[in-house]
Assembly symmetry: C2
């Protein structure tokens, strides 16, 4: 999960973390979740540290890269989204499961201000974030795509990584994106998977 030696309590439960450090990390996570929701994942560090009541040095100590903080804040929700794939696969026909999961995925990105843009920014502060998302979402999407292809409902030649990237991008909205834009575009991609010459 975290790709740097930080937030050690989560990555290595055997490692001792002092009580004050744990308090700082908890405060930062709470504050960051609020600030991300209101100002986006690229909000200034001072906004987060002020809300958390800790110093900026403390933030960097526990979360050396912004992607470490972003990953920590969204981890549970991301896991829940990825884990929804097999559940949907059991409840619905392959095509329906795929469609519903993509809708879930799109909703995940849509409610995280600036997350999709951050993933595509190439900014070194988000260096490890794409890998993190890919590691959880690509297997989920891959299995749904395989099932739908095996059922003869879609073509079998789309790369799950590419489709994931496309959904993330379309979820950014945009200067003209009205209500339902991303949903319509993702649906169009799905229809493209169904189309055969």
């Amino acid at each position: 999960m975290p790709t740097t030696e930080s937030a050690a309590v989560d990555a290595c439960p055997d490692k001792r973390v002092r009580a004050d450090a744990q308090r700082s990390m908890d405060a930062l996570l709470t504050a960051a979740a609020e600030v991300f929701a209101s100002s986006g994942v690229d909000a200034p560090v001072r906004e987060i540290t002020a809300k958390a009541g800790v110093g900026t040095g403390t933030l960097y100590r526990h979360y050396p890269l912004r992607s470490d903080l972003v990953a920590a804040v969204f981890r549970h929700e991301l896991d829940a989204c990825a884990d929804a794939a097999p559940v949907l696969a059991e409840q619905y026909e392959p095509m329906e499961a795929l469609s519903r999961w993509l809708e879930r995925l799109q909703g995940f990105f849509a409610t995280k201000r600036g997350l999709s843009a951050a993933l595509h920014s190439g900014d070194s502060a988000y260096e490890h974030l794409p890998d993190y998302f890919r590691s959880r979402f690509v297997p989920a999407l891959g299995s749904l795509l395989d099932a739908a292809a095996a059922a003869g409902e879609i073509r079998a030649d789309v790369d799950p990584q590419e489709l994931l990237n496309a959904v993330a991008q379309l979820s950014m909205g945009g200067p003209i994106a009205g209500e339902g834009y991303a949903t319509r575009m993702v649906q169009l991609l799905l229809n493209g998977l169904r189309y055969s010459d």
Copy 2:
């Protein structure tokens, strides 16, 4: 074209511009084109002004918003892309013309580092840029879509603005975007337009 009272020589030929001012603007356009190509449209102003041999105040005087500079640098190429639509419409069947133009559009964005991201950034420095692009590309795309729909080759219910936005976003590439990613995704959108239940 320019949405602010700058680069007056182009917007209002009657207005006198001093020779030194014209030299400054020319130098800035030349430098910006180079810097945008190597560092992207969000390169620091100091990089552009240093290359142009002018002061930063001079850059803001002639191009108050970054979007003014971006629009000026890419104007000819953007016009040429938009003007290619009717030409392709004459030479090819509607579906083929649409496909080729989207490929042309995608290539336009792909060769402009950071342009697509800038369009979607919401940054006030790029405030007028989306409108500029929309004003030239939406009519072009709209007529191609109409022709293909009239020929019964695609559904008639896609909004050209939305499709334009989607192509721009997919042209951003991304952390996993390999060779031809954007082309494949745009093709998938096109296939989606052809698909009917």
